[in-house]
Symmetry: C2
Subunit: 161 residues, 2 copies
């Protein structure tokens, strides 16, 4: 499996989130060397706390296969999954998760904990991390830097008006 190729597709999804002002996180799901689900973060636009890239990609993939079971699928995501998304990955029985950069605040695929490798759950998912880490990480860093700049600019405008 060409991990970098599919992580580039996940990064492409993240770009779509960035273009509409959402935190740039993207995901794709691959089955038999074909992308069957794609998603990007839509939390703010949809005002839906479950509208993470992974959840949207999982729903698209299960629609495509006509089954909630994604046993033979690989999920690629630019940022390490949060507890909700790790849980959705377990629920959908995804075989492998490949992520780009770690999430020190909420990462549940190895950073704060690894829910995907919890032996007491009825499914375990293999984890591969650090694929295109630099691109995935810098996309987020750049986004938050611009956001801070914009906030500062607005604050300055407000104080001058």
């Amino acid at each position: 499996m060409n991990h970098e190729k599919y992580m580039r597709a996940a990064l492409h999804e993240a770009e779509k989130a960035k273009a509409i002002g959402e935190v740039p996180i993207g995901a794709v799901i691959v089955y038999k060397d074909e992308i069957i689900g794609k998603g990007y973060n839509l939390r703010e636009i949809d005002q839906d706390p479950t509208a993470h890239a992974e959840i949207i990609a999982i729903q698209e993939a299960t629609d495509h296969l006509g089954s909630w079971r994604l046993n033979d699928c690989v999920l690629y995501v630019t940022l390490e999954p949060c507890p909700m998304c790790a849980g959705a990955i377990i629920q959908s029985r995804i075989a492998t998760v490949v992520y780009g950069t770690t999430d020190p605040k909420a990462g549940c695929a190895g950073t704060l904990m690894n829910l995907l490798d919890e032996p007491r759950f009825n499914h375990q998912t293999a984890v591969i991390s650090g694929v295109l880490e630099e691109e995935c990480s810098s996309m987020l860093t750049h986004f938050f830097r611009e956001l801070r700049k914009e906030k500062k600019r607005l604050k300055k405008m407000a104080s001058e008006s």
Copy 2:
């Protein structure tokens, strides 16, 4: 807050799942003493691994409020949340979760672990358990007993035909 009253509403949702052959789990979300979100398990009908009672109720509640933040809400659910639903509860900043019966296989609100009380996440949710435990538990036990009976009956029919 009248916990039993709202757990009865969650049990009523679970009845809807049972009526269509889904594992009977139901949830409601209460804001200012009003139910603003309801959901019942639809995993098999929708073939969607994320279609748990809690996720559906959260999406309905956030639609109702026009915000992904459910800080002042209480979620009632008949069965202890799984990791995905516990994660969605954290994501939506729900203040309190009240559940009926524990889930020894996947419960992440105190049984296998308590994700809702994890200090490293950016939100913690209070947990109250055991409200109408007997009713919540027996609805599930009865459902699985009937399912096993039906399986046995079909197996017998197949061997006799």
